[in-house]
Amino acid sequence: MNLDRNPALEEFRAEVADFLDTAPTDAIREAGRKTTSVFAPFEQVMEWHRILARKGWAAPSWPVEYGGTGWSVEQRYVYAEEYWKRDLPPLLPNGLQMVGPLLMHLGTDEQKARYLPGILAGEDYWTQGYSEPGAGSDLASLTCSAVADGEDYIINGSKIWTTYAHHANRMFMLVRTSTEGKKQAGITFLLLDRVDLPGLEIRPIIGLDGVPEQCEVFFRDVRVPQSGRVGAENDGWSVAKQLLIHERGGSVASPALRRRVEAIRDAAAHERTAFGGVLADDPVFQRDLGLLEAEIGSIEHFEKLAISGHPIAQDFAFPSMAKVMNTEVTQTLSVLMTRVAGLKGYAIQTAALEVGSSVAPLDDDFSLVAMPYYLNSRATTIYAGTNEIQRDLIARSIAH
């Protein structure tokens, strides 16, 4: 084993730190502090995306030929560490981690040329149209249909959990193009060049945290060109599975989790308890915080082993295990946040949570975000394949 510290890596760290200290605007920093979801406040995170794109750092994990940074995995981890230390808003994943890499693998040259630059530059936001009211975990039973008509498809039906659809200018979606044979065999993957189309209606859904993050999208005889299809007609299920690989794996979670734990530790140092003294000295709190430290420690170790190419992470179940570990520790962490915030977390402060709001928080930023973060993070074990589905996949990976 060899853990050698790489001096060039420390130089790189300094370069990253310098840029991240100076480049974000105050509004972007505020958006980072007020991020209570995977999806940061839209306007500021897209502005930040465009700043990073101009620096050439928007897509560290992309191949260089498509505008990636060419950083080693170790450098990417250092970047993530420095990024999270500063509470910066995470770039939205739909373009960079989902449809972008998918197009690199399966898109036509024309599709790549048309869409990848806008994704990289932060000009476009793509919403994901997968789930339907009747098709969640059993995604292949989706019914939103596309019927060929000349050079076009006519779409009818609806999609739900289309994150930030009300901010989106583009959409990628799964549609049913055949009802014959296995249900997986009649699905097609489509790119929608725009969402302001006749017959397409977007309805934001207010979440548990009081803000519209998710949407429902209705299609009534919506006409789109067939040139937006990725892969062959009725082959969309294998296209979608390819995309899930990008959605579930490959990202580094432990630096962000560590940052949240630090915030909890700081807040607990001045929260008093009914037993006298402060929460930070309470044995039960210490035990629960310690559990988080230990769990995040193991996740960090697992991620570092993955970075080093260790066989433990070259498992078919790696993305599913990472998803379960990260999301479940996120939920544990979010519970502890609400415990530390206490009653202060129970005031609805939707207005104060808006970036640039003239309404000040009743107390500190910690108690402002604790409850929305907790509520929003209930979704982590539901989205991107519920954790029950992930456990099915992990169980399937176990050799007998």
């Binding site: 060899n2 853990l3 709190f285 210490q286 310690g290 420690g297 260790h310 433990i312």
Partner: protein, 370 residues
């Protein structure tokens, strides 16, 4: 960054496993324990013959200068094979303390440990597992040019078989280490066997006179902390080895055991439990590998060690209890390794501070973030 075992480390570990399986499989181990034997001369002699009883010793101390990674590689196999012999007590704890203390007597004893001739115990921890070294209550008072030891060490591994003990005791303002012959007048040892099949003893020192030469090290707090740090890695490695063995047994049992006409692994409840076992094993394994690499690089701090000890303790327990549950009735019998592996994991958890203690250390202000 290379976090893999070398080919040599793998070969050494594989040959250790092979030997243990051939010389003393699970049934032979059971028969041996039924007769109260925890130290088999065949097994101990083989370990000596392979050079394993000197593995972590530097060349100056008569060993090959094996690293913590070497030690972890074989400890994983010791855990899976449920080794009963006093490797932890004699080689990892007492041996390391003797090497760090130095001196002619220590060197001679290390040579006899290496050949398998001498079994030595490490009589350090007292009633409170995981307590700071400074809380040791056994005393050593200077008298007649020597020392008088008084106190109780209630759980000394190899305590019943050892000819000598490395004993920690309060002396002047610090904690010192002494080397004490177990035949010395005033030492009372009640021999017992631990739930996971290791020999141990409850050792009482009742005005035990030892000569001046018995003093191994004055102000030995940091020496002891360093020895215990390696022991934590050894214990974690044994537990991860045991977890891996349990996971394999349980997944294969779930695939073959039929109820309601189908393998029980086809039920989602069981499948998800297996998934959770795999996640638990993966986390514990990842922490073991990474913290071992940190320790080798001299970068493992107290928080890293606490993460490892806590995770192998609590994830080990969860996984092992799930293994018993999945095996059902037969999981409850002494005739299957499952319960023995559970007991090994629990015993390892209890040594040098259990998971709950290490979690609190991590969560308290003094337990710094990693």
């Amino acid at each position: 960054m290379d976090l893999n075992f070398t080919d040599e480390q793998r070969l050494l570990a594989d040959s250790t496993t092979r030997f243990l399986e051939q010389t003393r499989d699970f049934h032979a181990r059971r028969a041996q324990l039924a007769e109260g034997v925890t130290l088999s001369s065949a097994v101990w002699g083989h370990l000596a013959g392979q050079g394993l009883l000197a593995l972590p010793r530097s060349e100056a101390a008569g060993g090959p200068g094996g690293s913590i990674v070497d030690l972890v590689a074989i400890a994983m196999r010791f855990g899976a094979s449920l080794l009963t012999e006093p490797y932890l007590a004699t080689v990892v704890l007492a041996g390391a303390a003797l090497e760090a203390a130095g001196g002619d007597e220590a060197r001679t004893l290390l040579t006899r440990i290496a050949t398998g001739e001498a079994v030595v115990g490490f009589a350090h921890e007292e009633a409170v597992s995981g307590a700071p070294v400074g809380q040791i209550e056994t005393t050593a008072i200077g008298k007649d040019g020597g020392y008088v030891l008084s106190g109780l060490k209630p759980f000394v591994l190899a305590g019943g078989d050892a000819e000598e003990l490395v004993v920690s005791a309060r002396h002047d303002d610090g904690i010192a280490l002494f080397l004490v012959d177990t035949a010395t007048a005033g030492i009372m040892i009640e021999k017992f066997v631990t739930v996971d099949g290791r020999g141990a003893g409850r050792v009482r020192f009742d005005d035990v006179h030892v000569p001046q030469a018995a003093l191994l090290a004055r102000d030995a707090t940091s020496l002891i902390d360093d020895v215990v740090a390696d022991a934590l890695l050894y214990l974690a490695a044994e537990s991860v080895g045991a977890m891996d063995a349990l996971f394999r047994m349980t997944s294969s049992y779930a695939a073959t055991r039929q109820q309601f006409g189908v393998p029980i692994g086809s039920f989602q409840t069981i499948a998800h439990r297996l998934a959770d076992m795999k996640i638990a094993l993966t986390k514990a394994h990842a922490s073991l590998i990474y913290v071992t690499a940190l320790r080798e690089a001299g970068q493992a701090g107290p928080a890293d060690l606490s993460v490892l000890k806590a995770q192998t303790g609590r994830l080990g327990r969860t996984l092992a209890e799930a293994a018993v549950q999945t095996h059902g009735g037969v999981g409850m019998t002494d005739e299957l390794a499952v319960g023995h592996l559970l007991k090994r994991i629990l015993a390892n958890d209890s040594l040098f501070g259990d998971a709950e203690l290490h979690l609190r250390l991590l969560g308290s202000k003094t337990g710094v973030t990693a």
